[in-house]
């Protein structure tokens, strides 16, 4: 059996680490996600951090914003690769779904994560 997917959270400042902590607190799963911050990085240095985080494993990159340095480095890294997929707008709901569905292809896992994340965005009546 192949390795389960790895998730790499790519964010500004400490958002990635905070999301990782929240996922671990809620699920007890602490080995499915790796946090990467863009602090102090130009695009080359951030790509190096991402490469180290991926470690050659099939991966979904969970990026905070649909633009900017986190996205540009992630997309450059994923270009032409079937083993790396990118999803933007990372939120806690999509990560909670992801850690229990890591037997998919990276592209399918990214699509599933995007759907799970979107479903969590609501405006409930108060």
């Amino acid at each position: 059996m192949s390795d389960p997917l790895r998730g790499v959270i790519v964010s500004h400042a400490a958002v990635a680490q905070a999301l990782l902590s929240a996922v671990a607190a809620i699920t007890g799963v602490s080995d499915a996600l790796v946090p990467v911050s863009n602090d102090g990085c130009d695009s080359g240095a951030l790509t190096d951090r991402l490469t180290r985080a991926i470690e050659g494993r099939p991966t979904v990159l969970f990026v905070d914003l649909p633009g900017g340095s986190c996205l540009t480095s992630s997309v450059r890294l994923a270009r032409g690769r079937a083993d790396v997929a990118v999803v933007t707008g990372v939120n806690l709901a999509m990560l909670l779904d992801f850690v229990f569905h890591r037997d998919l292809s990276p592209a399918d896992a990214a699509r599933r994560a995007a759907e799970a994340g979107s479903r969590a965005i609501r405006t409930p009546a108060a």
Binding site: H12, G40, C41, D42, S43, G44, A45, L65, P66, G67, G68, S69, L71, T72, V75, R76, R79
Partner: protein, 157 residues
């Protein structure tokens, strides 16, 4: 109004540019000057993704920027010009152009550079380039976001 901010930032178009500066300045166009991005449609698409549709993004090579700068300076809209390296922006300050201020927004660690500010790393040659720019009458300050204090060149070179 023309170009309100000439910025040197190796992340090019990103959150600090679009949101941090773009919102308070009410920016309506961004000029990204970079030869590599200018020649790559996929790279251009990446940078467009981070910009709301109401803001125009113009991609220019260094040569095109030197030619088109008067046009952007006459533009009635508010704009930001951003490039990732000092030499490209320095080349825009000659030839009678009216660039009076340059903002160092982010030059990050690379081999040979040393830390000058949290978000500014320079080689000695790059520091000398900035001093030469200032000697030509251009005000050079470092400031990542508008709410931060602008740091005068002499305080980080």
């Amino acid at each position: 109004m023309s170009i309100a901010l000439y910025r040197i930032d190796d992340r090019l178009i990103h959150g600090q540019v679009v949101v941090g500066w773009g919102k308070p300045l009410n920016v309506q166009f961004i000029v990204l000057v970079d030869d590599g991005v200018r020649s790559s449609e996929p790279e251009q698409e990446l940078y467009r993704m981070g910009v709301p549709p109401e803001i125009e993004v113009v991609f220019a090579s260094g040569t095109e920027a030197r030619d088109r700068l008067p046009e952007w300076e006459r533009d009635p809209r508010v704009g930001i010009l951003v490039s990732g390296d000092i030499a490209t922006v320095a080349a825009l300050t000659g030839n009678g152009h009216r660039v009076s201020r340059v903002n160092i927004g982010g030059l990050h660690h690379r081999p040979g550079r040393s830390e000058r500010l949290r978000y500014v790393y320079l080689t000695d040659a790059e520091a000398a380039q900035l001093k030469a720019l200032a000697a030509r009458g251009v005000e050079v300050t470092a400031q990542d976001v508008p709410t931060a204090r602008p740091v005068p060149l002499e305080d980080f070179t």
